[in-house]
């Protein structure tokens, strides 16, 4: 609608709207838009981190990173980590949500406790897990030895593929409560009458899960998968604290590579180029997510 068509009252409301949204837009620009543009800008320079000085190199940072094996291996690790941890999160999360949706004693308590991993600080969680994984006095190795599964303690974080599997497992443990909350919220809004109609139509428990529950969960699962894929793809602290990207670079994902370039190798320009490429990759998920949201709004 053109401004000329607006009544004075509508114009007043429009002005009020601008005043109310203004501070948010300013903060958004300061913390999102400015760093984003800076990153793209910095990626065109070869910069020494301590001095933040350097020379214009154009797109050569990008050419260099695409030619580097380390980028591709990190991207591969990143994909394995994201797909692995996300699959486990969805399986554990949906399974747990279905259990917590049943009528059972202490349901409220169980629903609260299940959130614990999600709310505990990553540093604390990783410290606890490092103790559990410890090869000398970790409880996991204690069980492995006790059950006779192995004569020697397993090196959970220092050898491959154990390290990647351990990281994936801890990631799944840390983030599956998010899936539980979102799925449970959706499960509670599925009308009982759908299940009752299905019972009368002759559907057994398994048919009811596939014909009623799962189709009803589809929308929320798509959103969960897209959001968690974005968040898991850029996960840094959990992996860095647990393995530091090691052994060698076996669990090094792109965010860890960005950190290494920026603060270990002091190549801020190169680090920015990695970060920009990573953003471009995540943009695919974001576009899918936005499209999906818009479709639902229509």
């Amino acid at each position: 609608m053109a401004t000329a068509d607006l009544s004075p009252l509508e114009r007043k409301y429009a002005r009020l709207g601008i005043v109310l949204i203004g501070p948010t837009v300013l903060v958004f620009c300061a913390v999102i838009v400015y760093p984003l543009i800076s990153a793209i800008y910095l990626s065109l320079f070869s910069i020494y981190t301590p001095t933040l000085e350097g020379e214009w190199v154009g797109l050569s940072n990008y050419a260099e990173l695409l030619a580097k094996g380390e980028f591709w291996s990190s991207l591969w690790t990143n994909i394995i980590w994201t797909v692995g941890t996300l699959t486990l999160q969805i399986l554990f999360g949906v399974g747990m949500a279905l259990i917590l949706h049943q009528n059972m004693i202490f349901r409220s308590l169980a629903r609260s406790l299940i959130l614990f991993p999600y709310f505990v600080s990553t540093v604390v969680a990783v410290l606890v897990w490092r103790w559990l994984f410890n090869d000398l006095y970790g409880i996991l190795n204690h069980f492995v030895m006790w059950t006779g599964a192995s004569d020697m303690p397993v090196d959970w974080l220092g050898s491959m593929p154990n390290a990647l599997l351990s990281v994936i497992l801890v990631g799944a443990w840390k983030y599956f409560p998010f899936v539980v909350i979102a799925t449970l919220a959706r499960l509670q809004t599925i009308p009982d009458s759908l299940y009752e109609a299905a019972k009368i139509d002759g559907a057994g428990p398994i048919a009811r899960f596939f014909d009623v529950t799962l189709p009803q969960l589809r929308d929320v699962l798509v959103v969960i998968i897209m959001l968690r894929a974005i968040w898991d793809f850029k996960e840094f602290d959990l992996i860095y604290l647990l393995t530091g990207g090691g052994p060698v670079t076996s669990t090094q994902t792109i965010p860890l590579l960005v950190y290494k370039e920026a603060f270990a190798l002091n190549q801020m320009g190169m680090a920015s180029a990695y970060a920009v490429v990573m953003m471009a990759l995540m943009l695919v998920f974001m576009i899918l997510y936005i499209r999906r949201t818009q479709e639902n709004e229509l």
Binding site: P191, S193, L194, E196, A197, A198, K199, I200, D201, G202, A203, G204, A207, D211, V212, P215, Q216, R218
Partner: protein, 373 residues
């Protein structure tokens, strides 16, 4: 023969009894409405018939079979829900075909059966749409289609018209009456709307607080209500009921109002009683009762007049459209002595001597009689 029989059925939820000792015999091919206010146990009764709730005690029989332990899908019933309960991700065609699919009907046969039902309910054009693309009335027809397609022995309908607007509701009422006549199947219809029950049902089971109050034809429940609750519940506007006492000479007194009752027609044992009078049994213009006009409600084809009297309190009268007193005016009213209803002051039971019309006494009362025997 698919009679539906509830024999001494009781349903308790913890310490709360939702349905008390219910005896109900629905004949094969009959359309019975379960009518009552919210929380009266009518939906619980229907859900027990469907197998979605299980009776705490008593037996439910559908046809020759006792179905207490039979799961809903094997009872040969179909149910239409108040919310329609259509599967949102399926098209109209898939929704209607779903019960057939679950029973292993071959695909080709399924298609033909769905087409037949879709044609009957004028859904041919909508077969590829999803439920959210349909209007309330169309969704209602799809829900009916899903019930019809299996040709079940008994149809259970849980307030199926309550989400529709008034015009569509009237239309669907006529559709359902026609459908019942065509199919000749047993139908049990839950509603809180007496108009639906009166216009559609062969017989109405009126329930209150988990007890069956009366089972009778629409005429019976209107003209010979079994007790004070039924009298007040059936009829719009509802029956005028005045509390008073009967003396030794069979005279009813309420304040300054007095009338002699014929012992041939009424059980005139002295004591507290209530006198009931339908709004159409009150005439305005001439008569012994002086009344002040409080409200006049013209409806177009008649007038509803609310009057204030000394002995009988507030009275509602239904008059011809020409009779239209002004508010505040004092008018003389007459009552039709042949249309009086007398109810017991203690248990509310009907005390007119025309019990041949009353086919069901309250079950709670009957249970007490059984116990005392």
């Amino acid at each position: 023969m698919t009679d539906v029989i509830l024999d001494q059925v009781e349903k308790r939820f913890g310490s709360f009894t939702a349905v008390h000792c219910l005896d109900l015999h629905i004949k094969s091919g009959e359309f019975v409405a379960l009518l009552g206010p919210s929380g009266c146990g009518k939906t619980t009764t229907l859900r027990m018939l469907a197998g979605l709730e299980f009776p705490t005690s008593g037996d439910i029989r559908i046809g020759e079979r006792t179905v207490n332990d039979v799961p809903p899908g094997k009872r040969d019933i179909a149910m239409v829900f108040q919310s329609y309960a259509l599967y949102p991700h399926m098209t109209v065609e898939q929704n209607i075909a779903y019960p057939l699919k679950k029973r292993g009907v071959p695909l080709a046969e399924r298609g033909a059966m769905v087409s037949k039902v879709a044609e009957l309910l004028q859904l041919d054009e909508l077969k590829d749409r999803k439920p959210k693309q349909l209007s309330g009335g169309q969704q209602q027809r799809v829900a009916l289609g899903r019930a019809l397609v299996r040709d079940p022995k008994v149809f259970l309908l849980d307030e199926p018209l309550s989400n529709l607007d008034a015009k569509l509701r009237a239309y669907m009422r006529a559709e359902l009456i026609e459908l019942h006549a065509r199919l000749g199947r047993t139908m049990v219809y839950v509603t809180h709307d007496q108009l639906e029950a009166m216009t559609m049902a062969d017989r109405i089971a009126i329930m209150n607080e988990g007890r069956l109050q009366q089972l009778g034809t629409p005429d019976e429940v209107y003209n010979c209500p079994a007790n004070r609750f039924v009298a007040g519940f059936i009829g719009q506007p509802s029956m005028n009921i005045a509390d008073g006492t009967l003396d030794e000479t069979a005279r009813f007194r309420a304040g300054s109002f007095e009338i002699g009752l014929d012992p041939e027609r009424f059980d005139t044992r002295p004591g507290p009683v209530a006198l009931g009078l339908r709004p159409e049994a009150i005439s305005i213009g001439a008569g012994p009762i002086a009344a002040r006009v409080r409200v006049v409600e013209p409806t177009g084809h008649e007038n509803i007049i609310i009057l204030e009297t000394d002995g009988l309190g507030a009275l509602t009268a239904r008059t011809a459209v020409q009779v239209r007193p002004t508010v505040g005016e004092t008018v003389q009213c007459g009552i039709d002595a042949d249309a009086l209803h007398l109810f017991d002051g203690a248990d509310g039971r009907r005390r007119n001597r025309d019990d041949s019309m009353v086919t069901q006494t309250p079950v709670g009362e009957r249970a007490k009689v059984k116990e005392s025997q």
